[in-house]
């Protein structure tokens, strides 16, 4: 992202996040879960961002594995870290919602277990990249591709297997008040994602510059 777009986008995202609590508070209550259902407005967008980050990481990892393009690897690494952050967000806000809605913090059903495994794949990505030594970039790229393939299974698991988790039909059938608040939250989270990705990518690029400077210093 060019510098001229960064500040307006930053201002817009901040304004949307400041307005989000009011938009969510004004959304109607769900008839059975009542107040706690409002966790939905940041639980689901956090998974949207995680899945988007995983797709970006996976696609650029494929490009890196096929073409050996270092820039693709930098984008993949930046997106993979953001996927972990938003995965943690989803895995913490979900049980807080489930405690009230289901009476338990956690269920080892298909959806929740696969989501946890997806998070662990991308935690594995970080560990391989940090401690894997030479060649760890390619190993982590392979992990990202593996994680990307897992995403559709996580998403559609609620429709395939019996689970306590709400199905994918919930979002398309949202009522008028809920629909607007939900997509407002999704847009806010996606803008935030683009900002975080820009910042995190800058870190990867500066690290590459630093590596080149160290290599140039060697006799």
């Amino acid at each position: 992202m060019k510098g001229q777009y960064f500040l307006p986008l930053f201002a817009l995202t901040t304004a949307m996040f400041a307005a989000a609590p009011f938009v969510i508070a004004n959304a109607p209550y769900e008839s059975t879960m009542l107040l706690v259902q409002k966790i939905f407005y940041f639980h689901v967008p956090s998974w949207f961002v995680m899945f988007s980050a995983i797709f970006i990481s996976g696609i650029y990892s494929v490009i890196y594995l096929v073409k050996g393009d270092r820039k693709a690897d930098q984008i993949a690494a930046a997106a993979a870290e953001i996927a972990v952050i938003f995965g943690v967000m989803g895995l913490v806000t979900g049980p807080l919602w489930g405690r009230k809605a289901w009476g338990v913090w956690w269920q080892w059903d298909a959806k929740l277990t696969m989501a946890l495994l997806l998070e662990m794949i991308f935690l594995g990505y970080q560990l391989v990249r940090r401690y894997g030594g030479p060649g760890s970039d390619k190993m982590s790229a392979a992990l990202a591709v593996f994680g990307m393939v897992n995403v559709p299974f996580v998403y559609w698991s609620v429709n395939i297997w019996r689970t306590v988790h709400p199905k994918t039909s919930v979002v398309p059938t949202l009522g008028p008040g809920m629909f607007g608040a939900f997509w407002f939250s999704v847009l806010s989270f996606m803008l935030l994602f683009s900002l975080l990705l820009t910042l995190r990518l800058r870190l990867e690029r500066q690290r590459a510059v630093l590596d080149e400077l160290y290599l140039a210093e060697e006799p």
Partner: protein
């Protein structure tokens, strides 16, 4: 001997008959005999939703702030190191 046998039989019978009475425990308060339905939980028994919602919302904000701080810190460190290396290489005339 017959008298002794009769006495023992009587005592054992009394003991066995008394066992269910001895085994009886004071009531625990838990519904063991039957369940009585009610329409609504008393307020003291309901799990409040607001603390869960506030915790979730606060967690999202804290996590994002910590992550932003972490990126800024790492970026600052790398850029300082780049500047230091550039100065060093400029000083050595490379």
């Amino acid at each position: 001997m017959t008298m002794l046998k009769q006495t023992i039989t009587i005592f054992v019978s009394i003991f066995l008959l008394a066992m269910p009475l001895l085994a009886m425990q004071p009531p625990t308060g838990a519904a063991q005999e039957g369940f009585v339905p009610i329409d609504q939980l008393p307020p003291s028994e309901q799990l409040p939703a607001a603390p869960l919602l506030i915790t979730a919302y606060a967690f999202v904000w804290v996590l994002l702030m910590v992550y932003l701080w972490s990126i800024a810190k790492r970026l600052g460190k790398v850029e300082t190191e780049i500047q230091s290396l550039q100065r060093r290489s400029a000083g050595s005339g490379r």
